[in-house]
């Protein structure tokens, strides 16, 4: 069972939302959309695709992690397995079967930032877009860059050679809007290096060659070694019975929050074999940047050359005057001429 989720806002329906929805529809058995101050067009699109949805109107730039944690709570009303999370301008180049065959708990994919007529290597990076539900649903508590998946995923994620196309920065005007947004919400570059923001101003792009990129990713993934666990902490789960009589297992840390929702009674507890892992994963973006994705030479304006007279194949003394055949030698021409009745 694969569950997809996406948080969308007003104006996205006229951009890349249909691409994202197509992708989620293809990959997931069930999809939930959070309408964060979304407009009628987004709502209509959600209805068209038949996805579940609900509204959360908190301000995105200030309360991202809260919006996402509320989504996790919404999702936790029933058992989940594999989760696919996408922004409203992303397309994951992967098949459902490939996702189903993944082994592990969370997976980094390569976010390929589409840029002008190509992509931008310097702005492309790894990020979690697939993870396995385990009831640990806390997000990083920052107003920006808090990820689309719970915090733990970023610690245990494995790297897979899969491309996620991100279209949100493809157009220059969108990049300028993003700069303005960061200036508003992160004027001191507290959450990301300033160079990250500065790079948005460049219109330079790299040409897309999927074959080269996949080759680079395969090599890179081979290098990314997840070290053995440095800490192991057994997780304690509490069994709760809800008002319908169903028993659910909830991580101990979330029991209090769950109980607040009402209708739950504690029926038992268990320690599972699941562990919180703190691996060291290396290297990340930097090594991808070193990949030799060959670029075409710089564009040179071709001179305009009007046809001048005479043009075409120049006349040659070895041309047959009758049919235009060009012989390789004088003797060849003589032999050729015999075919013409009156040559």
């Amino acid at each position: 069972m694969i569950t997809g989720y996406c948080i969308t806002t007003a104006g996205e329906a006229n951009r890349y939302l249909r691409d994202t929805f197509d992708c989620l529809q293809k990959l997931c058995d069930e999809v939930v959309i959070v309408l964060n101050r979304a407009g009628a067009a987004e709502i209509a699109l959600v209805e068209e695709y038949g996805f579940d949805s609900y509204a959360d109107s908190a301000e995105w730039g200030l309360h991202q992690h809260e919006i996402k944690e509320r989504l996790m709570k919404w999702l936790s009303h029933k058992p989940r397995d594999l989760m696919v999370c996408l922004d409203s301008d992303e397309v994951l180049l992967m098949s459902k079967k490939e996702i189903q065959e993944l082994k592990g708990d969370a997976w980094y994919v390569y976010v390929m930032n589409m840029w002008g007529d190509g992509w931008n290597r310097k702005w492309s990076f790894w990020n979690i877009r697939i993870w396995r539900w385990n009831n640990i649903l806390e997000f990083q508590h920052t107003p920006l860059h808090c990820g689309l998946a719970p915090k733990w995923c970023y610690e245990v994620g494995q790297y897979i050679p899969v491309i996620l196309e991100h279209y949100g920065l493809m157009l220059r005007e969108d990049r300028l809007k993003k700069i303005a947004r960061y200036e508003k919400y992160d004027p001191k570059a507290k959450y990301k290096d300033r160079a990250y923001y500065e790079a948005l101003k460049s219109d330079d792009f790299d040409h897309i060659n999927y074959e080269h990129i996949y080759q680079a990713l395969h090599k890179e993934v081979g290098k990314c070694k997840v070290k053995t666990l440095t800490t192991k902490k057994p997780m304690k789960y509490i069994f709760l019975r809800n008002k319908h009589g169903n028993v659910v297992d909830v991580p101990e840390a979330q029991v209090a929050e769950t109980m607040k929702r009402g209708g739950f009674t504690i029926v038992g507890e268990v320690s599972t074999g699941k562990v919180a892992e703190v691996p060291t994963i290396e290297p990340k973006l930097e090594t991808i940047e070193r990949k030799e994705v060959k670029l075409d030479p710089p564009v040179v304006e071709a001179p305009v050359v009007a046809p001048t007279d005479p043009v075409g194949v120049p006349k040659s003394p070895l041309d047959c005057e009758i049919c235009g055949f060009t012989a390789k030698s004088k003797s060849g021409l003589k032999v050729h001429a015999k075919r013409h009745s009156k040559a």
């Binding site: 180049l93 080759q215 071709a302 046809p307 007279d309 009758i322 235009g324 055949f325």
Partner: protein, 312 residues
């Protein structure tokens, strides 16, 4: 394979109809999308419904399609039979989305460097002729002229002065024996084959560009005409002068006259070339053959660009 095809399918003589039939004769499924009657929504839905191997696009006047979105959904291929370099319309190489699909196919084999400079992912495929139209027509008195020219002659690219000079020369040199067609109505179907079967000599012209020539070369020979055509770099890689067609040098009108006069006088030799050219084109240069080439190019390019992996 299954392909979506944007173009004009309203008339039986449209090239799109011929190319569609040629793909189908190779066992592929073609879903036509009629230009002027489609929008982004229809294209997106067709892609979703049919999950095509590629989308083929023949140049239309509608530039409103969201090509960036289409390209994210399907491998896109443009196919034109026209020349763009060195003409007024060359600006379209930069501005028209037609030239920014994943693969652009054209009969211009002489501007690889320039295509690259314009960031056009170009592949050279020679023009062709519809196999069903490759047959010898019947005599028709209307076309009983020793020498004819078939094609645009009143209005043509202003950059190409050779055509007007050629036609002026032929009218002046062969009064009453030379005529241009079409005159007051379009000539298509059986009538065009009848024209080629009746007129003794067809003088051709093609806007000069190395390794480019008009599809009329294939149409004239494939549909049974005897053709004297300008010598363009590359033609002799496919045809043999004196065997399939006769060649003349651009602007060498005296040389052309010599050839015309010779072949008017030597009917047997003319007929041999006429039939050999017809047979050669029928067997080797139809759109069925071109479609085979195009499919191979698409497969190669798709593997190269997408690593054999379908993005969506």
């Amino acid at each position: 394979m299954l392909l979506l095809y944007i173009g004009n399918f309203t008339k039986p003589w449209c090239t799109e109809v011929h190319i569609k039939a040629s793909f189908e004769s190779l066992g592929h499924t073609v879903i036509p999308l009629q230009e002027g009657k489609i929008d982004n929504e229809i294209i997106f839905n067709a892609i979703k419904k049919h999950n095509p191997d590629f989308l083929l696009y023949t140049k239309t006047w509608n530039k409103e399609y969201d090509w960036k979105a289409i390209k994210r959904r399907v491998f896109t291929v443009s196919w034109t039979l026209d020349l763009y370099h060195n003409l007024d319309r060359k600006d379209q190489l930069d501005n028209n989305p037609f030239f920014h699909t994943h693969l652009v196919i054209s009969p211009d084999g002489g501007h690889d460097k320039e295509f690259k400079e314009h960031k056009v992912h170009h592949a050279y495929v020679k023009p062709g002729v519809y196999d069903k139209e490759c047959y010898i027509g019947k005599y028709d008195e209307e076309f009983d002229y020793p020498i004819v020219f078939v094609g645009s002659y009143l209005v043509y690219h202003k950059e190409w002065t050779h055509r007007k000079a050629l036609i002026d020369f032929l009218y002046k040199t062969y009064p009453g024996k030379f005529e241009c067609f079409p005159k007051d109505r379009a000539i298509r179907g059986d009538t065009l084959n009848n024209l080629y079967a009746t007129a003794k000599i067809v003088v051709g012209d093609s806007l000069h560009s190395p390794h480019y020539w008009s599809d009329r070369l294939y149409e004239t020979t494939g549909r049974g005409g005897f053709l004297i055509h300008p010598k363009v770099e590359g033609i002799d890689e496919e045809f043999e002068y004196g065997t399939h067609i006769v060649g003349y040098n651009y602007w060498d009108f005296e040389g052309l006259k010599k050839k015309i006069d010779y072949y008017l006088e030597n009917e047997k030799e003319r007929k041999e070339i006429q039939m050999a050219g017809h047979q050669f084109v029928k067997e080797n240069c139809t759109y069925v053959e071109r479609c085979k080439t195009v499919l191979k190019l698409i497969n190669d390019e798709k593997t190269k660009l997408w690593g054999g992996k379908r993005p969506i």
